[in-house]
Amino acid sequence: MLVGIGYPWSDIVEEEPMPAFSSLSERLTATFAHLRGKGRLTAADIDSTVREIRRALLDADVALEVVKAFTAAIRTRALGKEVSEALNPAQQVVKIVDEELVSVLGGSTRRLHLAKVPPTVILLAGLQGAGKTTLAGKLGRALAAEGHTPLLAACDLQRPDAVTQLRVIGEQAGVPVFAPEPGNGVGDPVRVARDAVVEAGAKQYDVVIVDTAGRLGVDAELMDQAKRIREAVQPDEVLFVIDAMTGQDAAATARAFRDGVGLTGVVLSKLDGDTRGGAALSVVSVTGAPILYASTGEGLDDFEVFHPDRMSRRILDMGDVLSLIEEAQRHFDEEQARAAAEKIAKDQFTLDDFLTQLQQIKGSGALQKMLQMMPGAGQMRQAISQIDDREIARTEAIIQSMTPAERQNAKLINGSRRLRIAKGSGTTVEKVNQLLKRFEDASKMMRKMSHGGMPQVPGMPAIGHGGRKSVRKAAKQKRGRSGNPAKRAAQEARLREQHSGPATGSSFGGSPDLDALKDLPGLGGLFRQD
């Protein structure tokens, strides 16, 4: 838990110019702005709404054919009563879009199908550079962590040194690699795949992950080779690996692979960039195969189960709140968080406690990752990525330059002590002042909340404002999430009443899954802006 002490991110945000309409909700708000007071939507209003949705989806790289089918469905629903009778039509339309997106992306997460009789065979296919070889390592590692005994089969005998790459990755991931052929054009990938399955049977590996060469959908010869590999090993899963940054071509390529190799599932790679990832929608719509995993970084553990509802919000640039929460949880020690929450309640939270929390997230890159998932962050990701552990290190240095007594009681720190601390930490008195001021403000707020004061309702930014201000306002609302677990649960219960949505977790405009928020130790403080 990081209580109430923020960093001067607002400076960065303010310097970064924000395009007028960065997200669909903002676009629609603008479209509906002139409708205020009219109460009812005309066919022309719906048309312009649908046009905005079309534009937003195309800008997110959703394939045109999918956009067309999608907007047709939206139009039908938008003409219905649920929109015309809504208090806020813009919000209602965005909610419909979100629901439709989630339903196309698949309502829930699907797990990997494992063979009843081992070994399970997983075939990886995709274009060049999609990230198949890296994924083989990540998937192997994840399966091994679940208690499986995977084997990686080096069947990319085309690309120079792909076999070597897989060997190295296998070593890093701690997963054995079956590579009887040197590659670089030498060897028959069909035979290697078949031998790998035999090898797995003999040596008791229960999963075989077959890495294949990248191929273009239009390359008939290589598509035929992929089909022969498939026939030779009869895979339980054929996973199509696609770069999340892919544009319109996603539809054509996905179709070519569906027809050429047959797909049972999709993996989205390079989702850690700032792409909106419309390709996800295209691929699922065209192939009907669900997305199983998302690959989110260059590390072998940067790999997660795919969540359709989160992707929908990303395509709409509404932020990925759930992933945010998971990321936060991964980096916070629950015990410590609980202890800190108690201290706040008793008004005993000190700079020392704060330092402990800082050290928890330092070095994990977690801060950046979390910030990138913030709603409305689409336009400021570039700026956000510049906030890094250095900022934490500076704060850490300031606190470490204080005496134990000062850390216990910040009120001791007078002018001359401030000067000494600034010198000791290599910063300025101004920086020390900033930190102390934030700590003081945060303590005040925490006290107030733990004694019954109710801050603003937390959650996603409200719909109905646009431009730069929305980002800051969103961040301010974030601050409102209580650091006190009990208090927070109460807040969230209230929120739940306000935003009761379908069980799939698509309560748009509110926090998507409130149970997940309950255990989140004071994330609010992390996003404080002053």
């Binding site: 070597t164 790459q165 940054m245 544009g247």
Partner: protein, 294 residues
């Protein structure tokens, strides 16, 4: 085949020009990843022009659109600047080329092809393996360099600072009187500030020995709107001077480079059209427009 769908199809017969014509036209541009905004603008312009000139034949529309696209690219100068600079004593230094881009776009492959292209012109080419991050990237580059007829400067140890490898490659290039030194860098998403800073550092360090002649940004033709963000980020952090558009042999048209070029002001210089050693060509605006329009 769907994948090869282009405007060629819609201009097949001699149908009169109607609303559907314009919609199909716009659709084809969008499918080529030109982006909704640019596609609408181009078609609106074309429509105004067609009305003014009273165009009745769809085939005329096609050539007008080709011209309009070529016009958009008329300021594109694909010239590669590989003239060898001289140091203070008048000694010729190698032309240093940095190759940058996000993961999986084909940087290493492009370097192999580019090395081949240059050595066929009789140039002495040196390749620096500064991608010390990805598994087996050095080996892959070495294989490509061998095919391309270039010498490789490898890192002295695994995980060595890429800037120091780049420095050594250029130093070796100067020693060996190489004409061109190509530096391979690790793929990096443009949102990773730390990795983008690393590129600036590589550039800074290399420039202690010789000025950087070109910074080639490799973009994957299958990319969508994110390609524009890539161009802007690599311009800001690495000073990209030219775009190499790869994987144009697939079904993707790479229309986003038009916006990337326009918004970041980086000319498109080379295109990659396959995995063969000779599958690298100079960018030609007319051919590109023809491929988009049909």
């Amino acid at each position: 085949m769907m994948a090869k769908w282009s405007l060629r199809g819609i201009f097949g017969g001699s149908r009169p020009i109607d609303e559907q014509t314009w919609e199909q036209l716009e659709d084809a541009l969008i499918l080529g990843d030109l982006g909704a905004e640019a596609s609408e603008r181009l078609v609106a312009g074309l429509r105004a022009q067609a009305e003014r000139l009273q165009v009745r034949d769809e085939r005329d529309l096609r050539s007008m659109l080709r011209d309009a696209l070529a016009e958009e690219l008329s300021e594109n100068d694909p010239t590669l600047h590989l003239r060898r600079p001289a140091d203070a004593e008048g000694r010729a230094l190698p032309a240093v080329v940095l190759v940058v881009g996000v993961n999986g776009v084909g940087k290493t492959t492009t370097i192999g092809k580019f090395a081949r292209f240059l050595s066929r012109l009789g140039k002495r080419v040196m390749v620096g393996a500064a991608d010390t991050f990805r598994a087996a990237a050095v080996e892959q580059l070495a294989t490509w360099a061998e095919r391309g007829g270039a010498e490789v400067v490898r890192p002295e140890r695994a995980g060595q600072d890429p800037a120091s490898v780049a420095y050594q490659a250029v130093a070796h290039g100067i020693e060996e009187n190489a004409d061109v030194v190509l530096i391979d860098t690790a793929g990096r998403l443009q949102t990773k500030a730390g990795l983008m800073d690393e590129l600036s550092k590589i550039r800074r360090v290399v420039e202690k020995l010789a000025p950087v002649a070109e910074v080639l940004l490799v973009l994957d033709a299958t990319t969508g709107r994110n390609g524009i963000a890539q161009a802007e980020a690599f311009l800001n952090h690495a000073g990209a001077t030219g775009i190499v558009l790869t994987k144009l042999d697939g079904s993707a048209k790479g229309g986003f480079v038009l916006s990337a070029r326009e918004e970041a002001g980086i000319p498109i210089k080379l295109i990659g059209v396959g995995e063969g050693i000779d599958d690298l060509h100079a960018f030609n605006a007319e051919a590109f427009a023809r491929d988009l329009v049909g």
